[in-house]
C-alpha cells in the first residue's frame, strides 16, 4: 500500500526498459518499494532493469513479456499479473517511441506503428490495467506524456499527435476514476536527454531522466494531476499554445 508519505510498496512498469521508468524505480526501491515488475519487450535492456532493481534491494523483481501493439492480450495480461501479485500500488505507463518524422511522413505504416505504440495500443493496455486498479480500490497510475502533446508541431507531429491522444485519453481516464480510490498523474517532460534522443540537439528547457524521476516521486506524494518537467514548461507551453500558426510551424525540430 502507498503510505501517508506517498511511498508505494509495489510497482508495475509498462515499457519496463524505459530510461525514465527505470530512473523512477531506482528512486522508489530504496524508499521501501519491495516488488518491482517490469513489463516490456524481452531483451538485454529489460534484463538490465531487473538486475538494477535487484541490486537496489527489492525483494521481488520480475520481468514480464508485454507488447503495447498486441491488443488481443492486454486484458489477459492485466488479469494474470494482478492476480499473481495481488496489488500494485503504482503503475507507470512508460511505453513510447519517437519514430523518425522525416522518414515516417512518407511511410504511413511506420507512422501508424508509432501511433499504435504510443497511443492506441497503450490506451488499450491502460484500460485493462485501470479496470484492475478500480477493482483493487487503490493505486496510482503515472502516464508519461510529453509537452509535445500540448500542441502538435510541424517538425514532429506524428509523435506529437500520438502523445496528444494519450494525453487526452489519460485526462478522461483520470476523471472516470474519481471515486474509485485510483489517482492518475500525467507527466509532461520537455526534451529528455537520453537514449531516445541520442544524436539530437537538445531543445530549450531540456531535462534528464533523473530530473523527471525526481518530479514523479514528488508528484506521487503530493497527488498532482499534471506534472511538467522542468516546471517552468507549464507556463512556456501556456504561451506556446497561443502563438500564431505562421510562427508555430517554423519551430525547429
Amino acid at each position: 500500500m502507498i503510505d501517508a508519505i506517498g511511498r508505494p510498496q509495489s510497482v508495475l512498469v509498462l515499457g519496463g526498459s524505459s530510461e525514465i521508468a527505470l530512473a523512477i524505480v531506482a528512486k522508489l526501491v530504496p524508499a521501501r518499494c519491495r516488488t518491482v515488475v517490469l513489463a516490456g519487450r524481452e531483451g538485454e535492456r529489460l534484463a538490465e532493469g531487473v538486475r538494477a532493481a535487484t541490486a537496489a534491494g527489492a525483494d521481488v523483481v520480475e520481468s514480464v513479456a508485454f507488447d503495447a501493439a498486441d491488443i488481443d492480450h492486454h486484458q489477459a495480461f492485466a488479469d494474470q499479473i494482478f492476480d499473481r501479485f495481488g496489488n500494485f500500488d503504482l503503475v507507470i505507463a512508460a511505453v513510447g517511441v519517437l519514430g523518425d518524422q522525416t522518414v515516417d511522413e512518407s511511410d504511413p505504416a511506420a507512422a501508424a506503428a508509432v501511433m499504435t505504440t504510443n497511443y492506441t495500443g497503450l490506451a488499450s493496455a491502460l484500460l485493462a490495467v485501470a479496470g484492475r486498479l478500480r477493482h483493487q480500490g487503490h493505486g496510482r497510475l503515472i502516464v508519461l506524456s510529453s509537452v509535445a502533446a500540448e500542441r502538435a508541431r510541424r517538425a514532429n507531429f506524428i509523435y506529437g499527435s500520438s502523445k496528444a491522444g494519450l494525453d487526452a485519453f489519460s485526462q478522461g481516464l483520470a476523471d472516470s476514476l474519481v471515486g474509485s480510490g485510483v489517482q492518475v498523474t500525467l507527466v509532461r517532460p520537455g526534451f529528455v536527454v537520453g537514449r531516445m534522443t541520442e544524436g539530437m540537439v537538445p531543445a530549450p528547457f531540456a531535462t534528464t531522466p533523473e530530473a523527471v524521476a525526481d518530479a514523479v516521486v514528488r508528484g506521487i506524494e503530493s497527488g498532482a494531476a499534471v506534472i511538467h518537467v522542468p516546471p517552468l514548461l507549464r507556463w512556456v507551453m501556456a504561451i506556446m499554445r497561443h502563438l500564431p500558426r505562421q510562427v508555430w510551424r517554423r519551430m525547429p525540430g
Binding site: 500500500m1 502507498i2 503510505d3 501517508a4 508519505i5 511511498r7 510498496q9 509498462l14 515499457g15 526498459s17 524508499a31 521501501r32 516490456g40 519487450r41 524481452e42 514480464v64 513479456a65 508485454f66 507488447d67 503495447a68 501493439a69 498486441d70 492480450h73 492486454h74 486484458q75 489477459a76 495480461f77 488479469d79 494474470q80 492476480d83 499473481r84 501479485f85 495481488g86 496489488n87 511505453v95 513510447g96 517511441v97 519514430g99 523518425d100 522518414v103 506503428a113 505504440t117 479496470g131 478500480r134 477493482h135 483493487q136 480500490g137 487503490h138 471515486g179 474509485s180 480510490g181 485510483v182 537514449r195 531516445m196 541520442e198 544524436g199 514528488r218 506524494e221 503530493s222 497527488g223
Partner: protein, 508 residues
C-alpha cells in the same frame, strides 16, 4: 441469504492520507455482521476481504480495506445490559465513548479509559487497545473489558480473558484483524461528579517536566504534559503539565453540592467546525510557533485544585469539529511511540530532531505508561509515550521518521498502530516481537485471511495474492459492485512476437 450490498466509498483515516475505496456496508444489526463476514469468507478467491470501521479516528489506514468490504459498525449502538450496582455495562461495539458518558455519567459511572477524543467506538477502543492519561494506574481499555462477542470467519464466539485468553488478547490491539467485535461488557468506574480537580504547572524544559512526572505522578490518577516542540536550546521541551483526579462532591462549590444531579451534569458542546479543507501550509513553523507560544504563556505558572469540566480536561480538541481539515488536503500524521523507562533519553533525541528541522508540530503530548496487558500487539509498555502531529509535505519527513523508527527500535520501544500510517513491515516486526504469536491466533480464527485492511496489507499481515490453482472459474466477489464487466478467467501470458516491439529507438 447474503448481506446487503455495499456502497463504494473513498475512505481515509483521521490524518486524511492514503485514500482507498471500499464497499461500505451498514452493520445495522449483529446478524448483518455475520452475513457480511460469511459472504467475504465465501468469496475469498475473488474478494478482497472485510474489516470493521467505527468513527474513523485511527490516523492511518487501519479502518479501510481497498477494493473490499468495510462494515460501518457505528449502527451497533445499543445498550444491551446495565448493572447500576456494579457499573458493568454491555453495549454494542458501535457505541461511542461520548454516548457512554452521556448515558452513564449522570448515573455516577465514568469510562475506565478515555483517549484524547470522545469520538471513538467501543469496538475501535478494543481493536486499538486504547490508553488514556491514567495508563500508569489503570492500564489500557481491554483491561476493563470482561467479555466480548467476536464475529470471525470461522464462527461467532463470546470471549473473555479466561474463556479464550489467546483470542481475547490477540483482539486487544489486533486492529480488527481477528474478527468484528459486535458487543462488549465494560467495567465502568464510579465518580461523584462530572468535574475534574486539576493542578497545572509550567516546566521550563524537558528535564524539568520529566522529573516532575517521575516524582509526582503517583499523587494523581491522570497526568499529561503538553510539549512545545518548536522551542530549542535551553528551552527545548518546555511544557505545560496538567494532572488531576475526579472531583468529589465536597470539592464543588456549595451551589452544586446542594444539587447532586447537577454535579453529574454532562453536556458536551462543539464550539466550532472547520467547514472545509484549509489551504496547504496553513500550519507552518511560523503559525504553529505562534500558537505554541500563546498556549505556553496562557497556562498558569503553578495552579492547584482548579475545577475543569470532563470535556475540557480530557477532550479539548473535541470542541472543534473536523479539526483535521486544518492540515489541508495533503493531510497529516501522528507519530506516537513508547520507549521503556530506562530509555527516557530517546524522548529527548526525538524532540531535538523535530525541533532542529523546524517541522511544524503542535500538540505534542507526553505521558507515562504503566505495565502493558498480555496483548501481543497491544501498544503500551512501562515507560514514556510521546505523540506528535506532523503535517505531510516536508521533503525530508520520510527519512526523518525512518531514522526515528530505528532510534525507537534500538531503545526497545514501538509505534502505536492506531496512529501509524507509514511504518515498514520490517520495522513493525522489530517493534512487535510477539507478532508471530498474534499471527498464529489469527490463522486459527481466520485461516483464509478474510479479515483484511490497508494497514494489514502495508505491514504484511494480510495478502490479496491468490494461489494459482484456485483462481480459475471461481465466482467473483459479490461486493465489487462498481465493476461493470466480469473479469475474464486468466489466460496465458501475452507473449511478444519478435518483430513487434513496445519500444523502439529512433534511427540514428
Amino acid at each position: 441469504m447474503s448481506a446487503p450490498g455495499g456502497r463504494r466509498t473513498v475512505l481515509t483515516g483521521w490524518g486524511r492520507t492514503a485514500p482507498s475505496a471500499s464497499d461500505v456496508v451498514r452493520a445495522i444489526h449483529p446478524d448483518v455482521v455475520e452475513l457480511a463476514v460469511a459472504d467475504a469468507a465465501g468469496s475469498v478467491a475473488g474478494g478482497r476481504g472485510i474489516i470493521a470501521r467505527g468513527l474513523g479516528r485511527s490516523y492511518g489506514d487501519a479502518a479501510q480495506n481497498a477494493g473490499g468490504v468495510v462494515l460501518d459498525t457505528t449502527w451497533l449502538d445499543v445498550v444491551h445490559q446495565v448493572d447500576l450496582a456494579t457499573g458493568a455495562i454491555t453495549v454494542g461495539a458501535g457505541m461511542s465513548v461520548q454516548s457512554l458518558m452521556e448515558r452513564l455519567l449522570p448515573l455516577g459511572w465514568f469510562v475506565p479509559v478515555t483517549p484524547g477524543t470522545r469520538m471513538v467506538t467501543v469496538g475501535g477502543a478494543i481493536a486499538a487497545d486504547i490508553h488514556g492519561k491514567n495508563h500508569r494506574l489503570d492500564g489500557s481499555f481491554c483491561s476493563h473489558v470482561s467479555e466480548m462477542t467476536l464475529v470471525t470467519p470461522t464462527g461467532t464466539v463470546t470471549v473473555s480473558p479466561t474463556s479464550d485468553p489467546d483470542l481475547f488478547w490477540a483482539t486487544a490491539g489486533g486492529m480488527g484483524l481477528t474478527g468484528v467485535v459486535t458487543r462488549a461488557t465494560i467495567q465502568m468506574i464510579p465518580v461523584e461528579t462530572s468535574h475534574m480537580l486539576v493542578d497545572t504547572e509550567r516546566a521550563a524544559d524537558l528535564d524539568t517536566v520529566m522529573d516532575l512526572m517521575l516524582s509526582g505522578d503517583q499523587d494523581y490518577r491522570y497526568s499529561v504534559a503538553w510539549i512545545d516542540c518548536q522551542s530549542t536550546g535551553g528551552q527545548l521541551g518546555r511544557s505545560v503539565l496538567t494532572r488531576g483526579d475526579h472531583a468529589r462532591l465536597e470539592d464543588l462549590p456549595a451551589r452544586l453540592q446542594s444539587q447532586p444531579e447537577r454535579a453529574l451534569d454532562f453536556r458536551p458542546r462543539t464550539l466550532a467546525r472547520v467547514p472545509f479543507s484549509a489551504p496547504d501550509g496553513l500550519l507552518n513553523p511560523l503559525t504553529v510557533g505562534l500558537f505554541n507560544e500563546f498556549w505556553f504563556r496562557k497556562a498558569p505558572l503553578h495552579q492547584q485544585g482548579k475545577l475543569h469540566t470532563i470535556g475540557g480536561f480530557f477532550h479539548p480538541l473535541d470542541g472543534v469539529d473536523a479539526w483535521n481539515r486544518l492540515y489541508g488536503k495533503r493531510g497529516f500524521l501522528q507519530y506516537q511511540f513508547v520507549v521503556p523507562d530506562e530509555s527516557g533519553e530517546a524522548v529527548r533525541r526525538v524532540i531535538e530532531k523535530i525541533s532542529t528541522i523546524r517541522l511544524a508540530s503542535f500538540l505534542a503530548v507526553l505521558k507515562r505508561f504503566g505495565p502493558g496487558d498480555p496483548g501481543p500487539l497491544s501498544f503500551p509498555m512501562p515507560g514514556w509515550t510521546l505523540a506528535l502531529d506532523l503535517p505531510v509535505g516536508h521533503h525530508q519527513l520520510d527519512r526523518i521518521l525512518d531514522t526515528l523508527d530505528e532510534e525507537i527500535i534500538a531503545a526497545g520501544g514501538r509505534i502505536y498502530l492506531a496512529k501509524d500510517s507509514r511504518v515498514s513491515p520490517a520495522a513493525f516486526r522489530s517493534m512487535y516481537p510477539r507478532s508471530a504469536e498474534w499471527q498464529a491466533v489469527r490463522d486459527r480464527v481466520d485461516p483464509e485471511g478474510v479479515l483484511r485492511s490497508d494497514l494489514g496489507r502495508r505491514l504484511g499481515l494480510c495478502t490479496d495474492r491468490r494461489p494459482p490453482s484456485t483462481r480459475r472459474g471461481r465466482p467473483r466477489a459479490r461486493t465489487s459492485t462498481s465493476r461493470t464487466r466480469p473479469r475474464r478467467p486468466a489466460r496465458a501470458a501475452a507473449t511478444p512476437s519478435s518483430d513487434a516491439s513496445s519500444e523502439r529507438t529512433p534511427p540514428p
